[in-house]
């Protein structure tokens, strides 16, 4: 079961290796607050939809399974959006339309079709959770780089407690070296490309060591 969890983190990381969910990943990763908020929302929605779809997989007629998945996903997103609006209003206004756009985030529909429709509820929940955590970690990676390079500081606020600052790292001697390019779309693509290369190399290394082991065996 731990293997399922590790899968979503590196080997099948949805953003950097499966290239799913890129649009929202690139658009909102300008600071770590947004990344955490978006990531947690996706984890909740992914786990919820995977469990639900796995629960009804035996009674869902094959011909209409995609519309059924879409109804389930859209309802889950509506629920999470309302909860975010009520309990973390500052997150709601900074993420804006991208919370609603989680409905069309390929990760959710992709995992529902590839995994949840063919596996038990517990396994699907774990898969959804790990894919969500992988997605969150990728978002955090991108946004840490972007926020730090663009503003030479890192700020984390708590959206549930009126934006109380949880920590702030802003060494003033670094301020003149900030590169504001990283707050634009161009910067987001640069960051994404570099991390994709790193993840691709990591995957290649893993494949090579396995091949060597097989030849020696």
């Amino acid at each position: 079961m731990f293997k399922n969890f590790k899968n979503g983190l590196i080997k099948e990381n949805p953003v950097f290796t499966l290239y799913l969910g890129m649009c929202s990943a690139l658009a909102i990763s300008t600071n770590i607050n947004n990344a955490l908020g978006m990531g947690v929302s996706v984890i909740m929605i992914l786990t919820l939809t995977n469990v639900t779809i796995s629960a009804i997989r035996k009674i869902t007629p094959d011909e209409i399974r995609i519309p059924v998945y879409i109804v389930v996903i859209a309802s889950a997103v509506s629920i999470v959006e309302m909860l975010v609006h009520a309990f973390a209003p500052s997150l709601y206004s900074s993420l804006g339309v991208f919370i609603s756009l989680i409905v069309v985030n390929c990760i959710i529909l992709g995992r529902a079709e590839a995994f949840a429709s063919k596996n038990g509820m517990l396994k699907s929940a774990l898969d959804g959770f790990s894919m969500g955590v992988g997605y969150t970690l990728s978002l955090l990676l991108i946004s840490l780089t972007r926020e730090f390079l663009a503003t030479m500081s890192l700020t984390l606020t708590n959206p549930f407690a009126n934006d109380a600052v949880v920590f702030k790292f802003a060494p003033s001697f670094l301020e003149p070296y900030k590169i504001s390019l990283f707050q634009t779309a161009t910067g987001s693509f640069f960051t994404f490309a570099i991390y994709s290369i790193i993840f691709g190399i990591l995957k290649e290394e893993k494949k090579k060591t396995r091949k060597v082991v097989k030849r020696n065996a």
């Binding site: 011909e63 209409i64 059924v68 109804v71 859209a74 309802s75 509506s78 629920i79 309302m82 009520a86």
Partner: protein, 163 residues
């Protein structure tokens, strides 16, 4: 034909169950969301209508860029939060109360840097009582401040009229 009916019924059932869940969460969260919109202004709104029921109005058009927010009070009167540009370049923020016939029912200034004793006369009860009677006069000697308030009343009436 039979197959299509069965498929449609299944899809309809899934949609119904999902809608019930979404509706439940909506019932639970919409009062919290409405309260959040009011929370930041509540202490100020209570200066004009203590203990009343407030609701924030979101979609209003204001071409003059003076209105910062509109709140309905007990579903009949309104409070409009405005920014006026009087004598001081910093502007002043005030709340204007209007009853359901769109007549001025009260005014309270939240922050200002008008000259005290001169421009600040526009925020005192004498002038406010004249506004309640519907006067569109300005105060001679404090024309900047008082005409800013008159412009605000105009903008509020236009925006509320269009609602």
């Amino acid at each position: 034909m039979n197959k299509i009916i069965k498929l449609s019924i299944f899809l309809a059932l899934v949609a119904m169950v999902s809608a019930i869940f979404v509706g439940l969460v909506n019932n639970f969260t919409s009062p919290i969301i409405a309260e959040n919109l009011i929370k930041s202004e509540r202490t100020n709104l209570e200066l004009l209508y203590p203990g009343a029921d407030f609701k924030a109005i979101e979609n209003f058009t204001d071409e003059t860029n003076q209105i910062q927010g509109i709140y309905s009070v007990n579903d009949e009167s309104y409070v409009v939060k405005l920014e006026g540009k009087g004598y001081s370049a910093n502007g002043f923020i005030y709340l204007l109360a209007l009853n359901k016939d769109l007549k001025v029912d009260g005014l309270v200034v939240l922050s200002h840097s008008e000259t005290s004793g001169i421009g600040s006369k526009a925020f005192e009860d004498d002038y406010i009582n004249k506004l309640k009677e519907g006067s569109s006069d300005t105060i001679s000697g404090a024309t900047f401040t008082s005409s800013a308030i008159q412009r605000g009343i105009e903008a509020a009436k236009t925006a509320l009229g269009a609602l």
